[in-house]
Assembly symmetry: C2
Homo-oligomer: 458 residues x 2
């Protein structure tokens, strides 16, 4: 029995693997909306049952939020942990979806077959690449390749409030030789990659209150403070004319990019024009004097993710609202301290308030940036396995998004994270019509078989 | 038969009149939302039937939008027209209503009985004060007091798009000696008033588009232009630090307040502290150097009535949205030209756009301010009738809100508008839990009987 047998089994099983993924995608496990709590439970139960079918001792573990799914199987060689998340993003604006977000299907497109549906790329499809690789391995070899721990979360899209306490309480159980994390993309849609640098994330929601109730803008317009105006002034003040973020102390701990890394990134030949053109843009809008790849991988950001106030329905209503609110996120790099930035941001907002206005804040997560030491030869072994599978030299890259779990593995468990994913920039994760390429799913499964094979030998 | 008999009849009929109003309030005739079109038709049909019961030749008249209800009855003496509107404002935020907006009821409060429900004060309750006065008059005298035209609109809360064309096409039919308009409030909740100065209204909706679709703020944050940031900068730039509006040419045509009028207003002893304290505020937020009464009656304003963009649901979503939009209204005074201001505003916004952003605009009405010549002795007769009914000297006042119809009567028909209403500042029109005081309804009906009696004699 050889790796080739496992790969052949994966090829033969692809239709059945796809059906299993579609089944999981039909569960609307939106973690941020309490209305979907039963669906999150259902997705966790589904995974427990699926892992049990592989001979894994899997359990749904309660938390104050959505459950964790943790499974163990004994074996020789290294102890590998696999992390993924079974929760998904909300689906609005629903009217922009071409079909039901939780009525997934396989579609033929100009770029090949895709699996369409919420969570297909983020992260259910990616999560299942590893499980399907294990299933094929077991079918061929009768057992799994080494000692394995599965660690599947249900709160990744809502700030992971239970994650750190759970890891701290179960550190001995979760500690392993390497944590395989499948929640990232390839480089420019075609080059398989290991992400070694991830931005941190700080989420804040601010609500500004002016009058004690909604008013008629004819009677009170001009004389009463309008909280939308105040909120707009706050948001407008968060960046200066050079695109730099104005929160005092924000850039403390932001490192310069090492020359060596800058050179490696330069060599990747990132096509920022195409990257922007794909989403209808023509020029980088970030900090003056920074390259596009720096902006998305290595510079901190401040973005408004949502804003609302007053009448937002059809037509017009001359209301002067009592409240206006915004959801604001900061991506952090290097040694930026999310807690210090939160404090400074809140003070800055409070200092900008005119008389008669109040502000309240809600937290939505705070994680530091992380970077991975790649001196362990397992990284080169993984890079090689990926290169063989995809027929392209795999790369070490930075990641624009934030996967706080990577830092937690390092800091809480002392376990090295290995971030490998098969998503693509056009997957529309967090957006309407999310998809995952069938090629990503198929070659993703094959990649994990190769990687696990390489890691158990290295 | 005398006026006293009519007033006695009104007192006796109050419970039945209240039941009729509750019936009309149960029809959710929200004109701005196309989903309620059948309900607007239903409200119009209800009014046609009610007017027919008074012997009025009433018809539902089609327009490109919601129908007008027009009714005529022959008679001696002056030809009076009565205007009101049967459409109502939307009801959101629905969760702030203590009962269904269209499940009206009579409630006992610390300030006496109120009629609670959407449209109770704006404008169904006010509209019915005149109809009920006519009903009592007819019951006592067997006929209505003079030649009357009823002109009831169903688009007042959505910018009255059909109004001007309808008035132009039916000018001969609608021309009258005086247009009685019941859609205003008393002065400081206790002094009956004739409004002689009304602000105009310009409504604009702007939508800024950045990327062609919603993006993940991790991948695109920093490098892609965020339309919420752009919109916030636009809104923040609309006022300077003194609260003055920055749209170029905006103050062209804004008159100084005549000394005589300023003195009369001063004499009214407006309690701005209480006016603001009622809504949880402590100081005027408008233009520096202007008195509170100037701010609400005689100065132009710019208010954001609604803003939306990105994810606005529960929890957090790290989206970088494609679009952000705001509804913005300007209150106009004196000779300010709404069309010139619209043009200047749109140019100002377009000039502020960074590369890769587009803006689209939607119109929501444009009307000039109006002021009424009170030299006709009918004004003094009305003031006297109001003073007798309420036991307080009635006043000529300005109005913060905009009632474009007043200007249209003057400009299109050459008919003098007489604005008398019985609303109160705390009626919460356009807001949750709208109410109309039973005293306003009862004394409002009695006031119209007295006014019509006075006008047919003067």
């Amino acid at each position: 029995m050889s790796l080739d047998d496992v790969l052949a089994r994966i090829d033969a099983e692809l239709p059945a693997a796809t059906d299993r993924l579609l089944e999981l995608l039909r569960i609307p496990s939106i973690s941020t909306d309490p209305a979907y709590k039963p669906d999150c439970e259902k997705a966790a139960d589904w995974l427990v049952a699926d892992l049990e079918a592989l001979g894994v001792d899997a359990k749904k573990r309660t938390t104050p939020g959505h459950p964790m799914v943790v499974g163990h199987v004994a074996g020789d060689g290294p102890h590998l942990l696999f992390y993924g998340h079974y929760d998904v993003q909300p689906v609005d604006p629903l009217d922009l979806w071409e079909r039901g977000p939780f009525d997934p299907q396989i579609e033929d497109t100009a770029n090949g077959q895709v699996i369409r549906g919420r969570g297909s790329a983020d992260d259910k499809g990616q999560l299942m690449t590893f499980i399907e690789a294990c299933r094929a391995w077991k079918a061929v070899h009768g057992s799994l390749p080494c000692r394995l721990t599965f660690f599947l979360e249900g709160e990744e899209e809502s700030g992971s409030p239970s994650l750190v306490p759970f890891m701290q309480e179960n550190a001995d159980e979760l500690k392993s030789d390497m944590a395989l994390i499948c929640d990232t993309t390839m480089f420019e849609n075609q080059t398989p990659a290991i992400v070694t640098m991830l931005r941190g994330l700080l989420g804040e929601e601010i609500t500004i209150t002016g009058p004690s109730k909604d008013l008629h803008s004819g009677y009170y317009g001009g004389i009463a403070m309008n909280p939308i105006r105040v909120l707009s002034r706050v948001i407008a003040a968060l960046h200066d004319d050079d695109g730099r973020i104005t929160v005092p102390g924000f850039y403390d701990g932001v490192p310069d990019i090492p020359e060596e890394m800058a050179a490696q990134w330069q060599a990747l030949g990132f096509d920022s024009d195409r990257f922007l053109a794909d989403v209808g843009l023509s020029q980088p809008a970030g900090e003056a004097g920074r390259t596009p790849l720096e902006m998305v991988w290595a510079r901190p950001t401040c973005e408004v993710n949502g804003i609302t106030g007053g009448y937002t329905g059809e037509g017009f209503k001359t209301v002067l609202p009592s409240k206006a609110s915004a959801k604001i996120s900061f991506r952090l790099v290097g040694d930026q301290d999310p807690h210090a930035i939160r404090k400074s941001f809140r003070k800055m907002v409070a200092d900008m308030l005119p008389p008669d206005c109040e502000v309240s804040f809600a937290e939505h997560g705070a994680s530091r940036a992380s970077s991975v030491d790649i001196s362990d030869p397992k990284f080169e072994a993984t890079l090689k396995a990926l290169s063989v599978e995809w027929g392209v030299d795999a790369a070490y890259i930075g990641g624009g998004g934030s996967i706080p779990i990577a830092g937690h593995f390092q800091n809480i468990l002392g376990t090295t994270p290995l971030l490998v994913g098969f998503g693509r920039d056009d997957d529309a994760i967090h957006s309407p019509n999310e998809k995952y390429d069938m090629e990503s799913f198929h070659k993703g499964i094959r990649s994990w078989a190769r990687i696990v094979d390489a890691l158990t030998r290295s």
